[in-house]
Amino acid sequence: MLINLADSYFSAANGGIDLKEMNENDPLVVLIHGAGMDRTVWFQQTRFLSHHGYRCFAVDLPAHGGTEGPPLETINEMADWISSVIERLGGPAHIVGHSMGSFIALATAANHPDSVLSATLIAVAEGMPVHPDLQTAADDNLPKGASFIAGWGHGPDQHLGGNPTPGLWMIGGATAVVENSKPGILSLDLSICSSYEETLQQAQSVKCPTTLILGSRDKMTPRRAAQPLIDALTNPTVVELEGVGHMSMTEAPKEVRQVLLDNFSNS
């Protein structure tokens, strides 16, 4: 659906519930996708949360998915935009970010504390250096860049299959999401990720409860790379998912749903 925001619109999925029928007293949840992706990476969580007592919106960042407009060029600009989305939707909100989205969630929690009830950071690390071959592929050959992300982004089990949603091929789904991104967006997002160096500084100023969901087989943001961030946050909850790669929301959807429910109810 398209939701107006100032003089523009943004695209979001909310489980197919008419906005007028959403209970404004239900807690707000905003899900933030990663580099070159869009709202649909959350399809295993969005509709579930919207039918379990939350006003859940998986949003498309500007120039991603169904949201038009020029892309935002820094994590802090994206955090400002998320804050305005939360205000538009009647926040504050529990925010959940994946990969680049986890940087955005962290920055939103740090820069806009009144907007955020809790922050859940999935597949996060102190920094996200991008392999030069991936950056080159993203610059020049989007299908190849998409195949890099889908290939490296999933744990070994997911390369065999066994999707909890019958008939869907997880690697193919992730590849298509990235391949469908607008020209230049994956390249820009990756360069934003690799140049972002404010995680520790922002982590130290976050006041809301934080949860980190980390995959034991994540090649893109390895578990050890998250430790400085964990040390910088105040009493974060850390959940490690065995055998899972960079795409916990789709690789371990049930576990992620449960972590989110526990996190929201405790915040």
């Binding site: 999925a13 197919g16 509709r47 579930f48 019958p166 869907l168 193919g172």
Partner: protein
């Protein structure tokens, strides 16, 4: 430069879709011969029924054995998902019924399996869906036949029975230029020989009964969702991009993005029409797919042996196979089908209908039956069997003369296949 981390085709043929069974350690895919699945809780049941979470409810909608097959086919084709059906025709129907409504229109290649031609000519019009048939060689012919109600272009990647080679990218570009998808039937090719999604096709239909299964013991079909077509931007597909009351207002493109077609086809098409695949058939078809790469190599090499025989035979008037230099699409085939363009061929027999009949009745190793893609060599006379419901004019348009004999080359020793065909050809001339 490093390479993407992904299993190769042969590995996927054996493994995609399955991890060893966690409760029993079973290495082979278990046959889940069950109609239904115990829910953990009332809440879980409600969430499953409401598409909030993934999982199995009832085997008409999904089944764990069938799901392995669906993932494997999607993986081999490079799609985002697949929905398996009771037959290839059911798969074609499922794709059309998921995407189109009364008043909609299809532009289709004229060179098709007779059953598909029949469905579009006689059956779909009863439900308000019309079709215009065109020469598949020219993108312009598709565009000229399109109108404001056109919702998809349809073609076989290797036509039946003339084995016309579809320039997938050219027809896909034409389809996309008017905001509609290209749906292709790739049964004759299998993903081993070509992966149409990589060439721009949006949906791939398979009769799994043929080369993918390969053994001729199980009927089945599949709709493979390429995940690249933007259904919402097209504005022509309300079943995917507008609220669906059947699931409390869900908008499939909003929630599922590239998997919208797969999800709607299952949630509506399999649930309501019910043309599901049985778990035992899925098991049989999986056994076939495990050896798909090896079998297709042998099918192609045997086909080349048969082409050599026919090329020199006095009883043969003409040969139709894209790997043969006489085929009009030979150059295109060389570009698209680097591993060979399949194991179905046709030829014209000297003496026309009577000679054709004698030939069919004289083969001893090859089987005369209405199928292709078996491990065993098959022969048929299309004008009197698979395409017999087509008018003389339609037969002529589709390039099916009364002298045409179709062969599906099997996996026997090529010397035995050739000896049998040679003997029958000689007998046909007496």
């Amino acid at each position: 430069m490093v390479e993407p981390d992904a299993h190769k085709f042969d590995t996927k043929s054996l493994h995609a879709g399955q991890r060893p069974d966690p409760s029993t350690g079973s290495r082979a895919v278990p046959i889940h011969q069950t109609t239904s699945y115990v829910f953990d809780s009332v809440d879980e049941a409600a969430a499953l029924y409401n598409l909030e979470v993934g999982g199995h409810i009832y085997s008409r909608i999904s089944n764990p054995t069938v799901a392995v097959l669906e993932e494997r086919i999607a993986a081999l084709e490079g799609g985002v998902g697949a929905v398996c059906t009771s037959s290839g025709m059911a798969a074609f129907h499922l794709a059309v019924a998921t995407l189109l409504n009364t008043g909609d229109h299809i532009v289709s290649s004229q060179n098709l399996y007779g059953g598909s031609h029949n469905m579009m000519t006689f059956t779909m019009p009863r439900f308000g869906i019309s079709t215009t048939f065109v020469d598949p060689h020219e993108p312009k012919s598709f565009l000229d036949a399109a109108n404001e109600n056109t919702k998809l272009f349809y073609a076989e990647v290797l036509g039946n029975p003339g084995i016309e080679v579809l320039d997938i990218e050219a027809i896909a570009d034409a389809a996309h230029s008017i905001g509609v998808p290209l749906v292709v039937d790739a049964t004759f090719a299998t993903p081993y020989l070509i992966r149409p999604i990589e060439h721009g096709a949006d949906v791939v239909i398979h009769s799994l009964t043929k080369f993918l299964g390969g053994h001729g013991i199980a009927i089945g079909g599949a709709v493979v969702d390429g995940g690249r077509f933007d259904w919402a931007a097209s504005g022509k597909f309300p079943t995917l991009s507008e609220p669906y009351d059947g699931y409390h207002g869900i908008v499939f493109t909003d929630e599922f993005g590239p998997q919208a077609l797969s999800m709607r086809a299952r949630a509506e098409g399999l649930k309501d029409f019910g043309a599901c695949m049985s778990p035992s058939n899925a098991f049989y078809l999986l056994q076939g797919i495990e050896t798909l790469p090896l079998r297709m190599q042998k099918h192609v090499s045997n086909t080349h042996s048969v082409l050599d025989l026919l090329d020199k035979h006095d009883a043969v008037e003409w040969i139709r196979h894209p790997d043969h230099p006489s085929h009009p699409d030979h150059e295109l085939a060389k570009r698209l089908y680097t591993k060979g363009s399949g194991a179905i061929l046709s030829f014209g027999i000297s003496g026309g209908r009577e000679a054709g009949k004698k030939f069919i009745e004289s083969v001893e190793l090859a089987s005369h039956l209405a199928n292709v893609g078996d491990a065993k060599t098959l022969v048929i006379h299309p004008a009197s069997t698979t395409h017999q419901q087509m008018s003389a004019e339609d037969l002529s348009t589709a390039g099916i003369g009364e002298d045409l004999v179709r062969i599906s080359v099997g996996l026997e020793d090529p010397a035995d296949i050739c000896a049998d065909l040679d003997r029958a050809l000689k007998a046909s001339q007496r």
